[in-house]
């Protein structure tokens, strides 16, 4: 199978896969604790409901995987999932992956989801000494420090404890960046060229290298369809290159949107420069011709219309740098034209994925306005997906977002808190929503609707059973710890 891909052939380590142009390829060789099915009807609940992947079941009250307080999850791993080296995938690999996600050498745009939910993960991230330089340093730190709320009880059992009840934690753990990490990666810095050249596989394929600008996947000999309820393997060899002229699947083609939820195209305003002036930010928000007026787009959890009545005026003619990815160039041109019309000078700065990813995770250098297109990573209880990334440069807004997410499970408190955080964001004008949009998907390819419409290149060989039957209440699902029946049905 020949694929035409959007950019490059440098397959990221899964820890860096979030929003990467080649993220769709990650699913060929990487499994997570949980994932989504691609064989469900677009827009159906099955298409956005997490299903077990490396885990045996979705933890719930019914299988003793979740306690009444809603902050302790017990996750059992399949015993038949293996790395391409033949070694079993273990709970320790999952712990290693979560620690690697916190490392100082690469910051995922998805990291705030984890830091705001898993107990002790922020402390673990903050505990890395500035003196760390090498992969060995990082491994030494990981092997001598723990995330307080992540416990591997044994090779096949993991406990994940949360700061607050978070109904979206299963979706968070379904992100490809939460994939387990093999011990071999300890020899490499996260997402370094060295590790990209030595990627290991748990999925149906394994990357075997790049030759003549073509990335090649071959079957993973240790993968078995019996051990993977979600994926299939329908081609012997898969190749991928942006230069493919006779592609079986063209991932650069933009067909109809099949993910059910709206995302948002927005500007982040860098308050460290000329836009530290509140009135200037308000003036930009007033000036731009835009359709979107909420931080969280319609259809997503926490979408509320709020009123931001403050008006601003430009204190003086401004010269600003607008950073954006190539894919957002048309929107960047509209923004530039709109601001130029009121006398601003706008310098357009196209960014690579890596540059944009660094800007989104705290690098404030070299831009005043950052244009981003953001799609939800999951479908239900997903206010976190917008609030944390969009407000990253706004400490007060981020604090309000954390406060709202901490009461996410309590509707009486969460609704006003969600309104408050969005009211703040729009009044402070640290973020300006421009328009709502849905991710266009390549024609003819199944998509993972819950992962922002990510194409699925390894569709399931056979229809999955209902996620509910499989995950929640089936007495026949593997449950090695249940020595006795829970007293939930009386």
């Amino acid at each position: 199978m020949r694929l035409r891909v959007k950019a490059g052939t440098d397959l990221p380590e899964p820890v860096a896969a979030h929003r990467h142009p080649l993220a769709a390829l990650t699913r060929l060789h990487t499994r997570q604790l949980f994932t989504y099915r691609s064989d469900a009807a677009p827009g159906s609940w099955q298409s956005v409901a997490p299903v077990p992947d490396l885990a045996t079941a979705i933890p719930s009250i019914y299988n003793a995987g979740l306690g009444a307080r809603g902050t302790s999850y017990v996750i059992h791993l399949r015993r038949d999932a293996r790395w391409d080296t033949g070694r079993p995938v273990t709970a320790h690999d999952v712990v290693r992956g979560l620690k690697r996600l916190c490392g100082p050498f690469h910051t995922s745009t998805a990291l705030p989801y984890f830091l705001s939910t898993i107990r002790g993960m922020a402390d673990y991230r903050d505990g890395h000494p500035a003196s760390l330089r090498t992969a060995a340093d990082l491994a030494e730190h990981a092997n001598t420090h723990d995330i307080a709320g992540v416990l591997a009880l044994d090779e096949h059992t993991l406990v994940v404890e949360l700061e607050h009840p978070a109904p979206d934690i299963i979706d968070i753990l379904a992100l490809p960046c939460a994939a387990p990490v093999p011990v071999e990666y300890e020899a490499f810095l996260p997402d370094s060229p060295e590790v990209r050249a030595a990627l290991r596989s748990t999925g149906p394929y394994r990357p075997v290298g790049i030759a003549d600008g073509v990335l090649r996947f071959e079957p993973n000999p240790a993968w078995s369809p019996a051990a993977d309820p979600v994926r299939g393997r329908h081609a012997e060899v898969i190749t991928a290159t942006p230069d493919e002229t006779a592609a079986d699947v063209d991932l650069t083609a933009e067909g109809e949107a099949r993910a059910p939820l709206h995302g948002v195209q927005y500007l982040t305003l860098n308050t460290g420069g000329p836009l530290g002036e509140h009135t200037a930010r308000l003036a930009i928000a007033d000036t731009l011709d835009r359709i979107a007026d909420t931080v969280i787009p319609p259809g997503n959890d926490g979408h509320h219309r709020v009123t931001a009545t403050a008006r601003g005026a430009l204190p003086a003619p401004l010269s600003l740098t607008l950073a954006h990815r190539d894919t957002d160039a048309p929107c960047a041109a509209r923004v530039t034209a709109g601001l130029a019309a009121v006398g601003m000078t706008i310098h357009s700065r196209p960014m690579t994925h890596e540059q944009h990813q660094r800007a989104m995770t705290g690098d404030r250098a070299g831009w005043d306005l950052l244009l981003t297109t953001w799609f939800p990573d999951w479908a239900h209880d997903n206010a976190r997906v917008f609030l944390l990334p969009l407000l990253l440069g706004d400490p007060e807004g981020t604090a309000l977002a954390h406060a709202a997410l901490a009461v996410q499970d309590d509707p009486a408190r969460s609704v006003p808190a969600l309104i408050a955080v969005q009211q703040h964001a729009l009044t402070a004008a640290t973020v300006i929503p421009l328009r709502y949009c849905r991710p266009p998907a390549p024609p003819g390819v199944p998509v993972l609707a819950a992962l922002g419409g990510l194409p699925d290149l390894a569709p399931a060989a056979a229809p999955l059973p209902s996620p509910r039957l499989e995950s929640a209440v089936s007495p026949t699902s593997p449950a090695p710890v249940t020595g006795t029946v829970n007293e939930v049905h009386r």
Binding site: I61, A64, G67, A68, R69, T71, S72, V74, R119, A148, G149, L151, L153, D154, T157, V159, E161, D410, P411, A412, V481, T482, G483, T484, V485, E487, V488, H489, R490
Partner: protein
């Protein structure tokens, strides 16, 4: 034999039950063992009512059975319902209360999940505020500690106290009467999950002072699976509960009036309607199921509910003493120092390392090996502990009238040895 059950030895009474002679059943908190006679009633009545052209609806209201059972619990037939289980009873009560947005319910995180689930549904459906307190655990807990937590959680918007008479996770007997009196002082409705009370306690439901008590029929009462008892206060006896009857909607009902409304709820000791009939009438019912539960209750009356309660608690104290001696008071999640809080359900941490208390695999393995290697049936429970970030897990045993000292001695001895090996 029945006529003389009160005078029979416990060995003889044990022979009434369909127990596996090679097993030690210390898990009545999950499901009891049916007497042979109750099993026979299930079979006989099912056959009697199968394939005939009899009118199946009147007997499905169980009027006589409800009267007999009600009497055993100190209440009247119109206040007693034979339900499918404690969960169904709790759900019908929770959703039948006249709660509105902003009204508050105080409950605990140690309730059965089915209770918390229904309360959460109320929260989402009507905007009811659910205030959840975490009960204290351990040997030294006192009733006053529990009362103080409930009292601190009550606000001017509180409308309901909802709590388990005996918690399934740690076997804590809540101070039921004192909590009901607390509710009376604040004008609150009391909803008790009594899943573990029926068949264990010789109690007068009316004297407890609650508005609703939902019980299991298949745990300590040893009726068939799929049976329960629901007490709904339907008259005012000021000496027990001086509050007016709460507004209550008997959801799922065939006989709730199709035109007009039922009479106003009484303000005296004479009922104004048969609220039990409204609740009991819910389409076709298993006549055998009700008959079998009634027979189990009759057997309890014949043995003597006071005698059963003494026996159950005497065995429990025997087990508690052995467990405390073997594992230490620090290992006990169940109360011990305050006699008022003790129940025949005893939860404890069997392993030496305290950190194993949040290792579900080890606790589950402990219980599983008791069963598979020694045919001792217990269970493990999970619950939160105030001040701990972890979900705790405990081994739990229950004593009932069909247990004896010898098997408890053996079970605790086996538990001690197994714990040593696993530690």
């Amino acid at each position: 034999m029945e006529a003389g059950l009160r005078a029979r030895s416990w060995d003889e009474i044990r022979s009434l039950f369909a127990l596996d002679p090679d097993s030690v059943h210390l898990n009545t908190g999950t499901v009891g063992a049916m007497p042979h006679e109750v099993l026979d009633v299930v079979d006989r009545v099912t056959r009697e009512w199968t394939g005939g052209l009899l009118d199946v609806y009147p007997p499905g209201l169980y009027p006589e059975h409800r009267a007999t059972i009600a009497k055993a619990y100190g209440v009247d037939q119109d206040e007693m319902v034979i339900s499918h289980n404690a969960t169904e009873g709790m759900a019908r009560v929770i959703h039948g209360l006249d709660l509105r947005a902003g009204d508050e319910v105080v409950t605990t995180s140690h309730e059965c999940y089915s209770v918390l689930s229904n309360l959460n549904l109320l929260r989402h459906r009507h905007g009811v505020v659910v205030t959840t307190i975490t009960l204290p655990v351990g040997h030294d807990v006192r009733a006053e500690d529990i009362l103080a937590r409930f009292e601190a959680a009550i606000t001017p918007r509180t409308k309901v106290l909802a709590f388990a008479g005996i918690t399934l996770f740690t076997g804590t007997m809540l101070p039921i009467r004192a909590l009901c009196e607390l509710a009376h002082r604040h004008g609150l409705t009391t909803v008790i999950d009594g899943a573990l009370m029926a068949g264990m306690l010789d109690c007068d439901f009316r004297a407890l002072g609650a508005d609703f008590i939902s019980c299991s029929g298949s745990k300590f009462q040893c009726g068939p699976l799929g049976t329960g008892l629901l007490y709904v206060r339907n008259k005012v006896h000021p000496e027990h509960n001086p509050l007016p009857l709460p507004t209550f909607w008997p959801i799922i009902s065939t006989w709730y009036p199709m035109q007009g409304t039922p009479p106003p709820r009484t303000t005296t000791s004479v009922e104004s309607c048969n609220i039990g009939d409204f609740l009991q009438s819910a389409g076709s019912a298993s006549i055998a199921r009700g008959a079998a539960l009634a027979r189990a209750c009759e057997l309890w009356d014949e043995i003597g509910r006071d005698r059963i309660e003494r026996r159950v608690f005497e065995l429990a104290e025997h087990a508690r003493a052995l467990l405390t001696e073997r594992f230490g008071t620090a290992a006990m999640y169940s109360p011990g120092a305050d006699e008022r809080l003790r129940s025949p359900l005893i939860a404890f941490h069997p392993l030496r390392d305290p950190a194993d208390a949040w290792n579900v695999k080890k606790i589950a393995e402990f219980v599983s090996r008791l069963e598979s290697e020694h045919r001792i049936w217990t269970r493990w429970t999970e619950f939160d502990v105030e001040g701990s970030p972890h979900q705790h897990y405990a081994a739990r045993l229950c004593t009932h009238l069909f247990n004896d000292h010898t098997e408890i001695d053996r079970a605790v001895e086996v538990m001690g040895r197994l714990a040593e090996r696993m530690s």
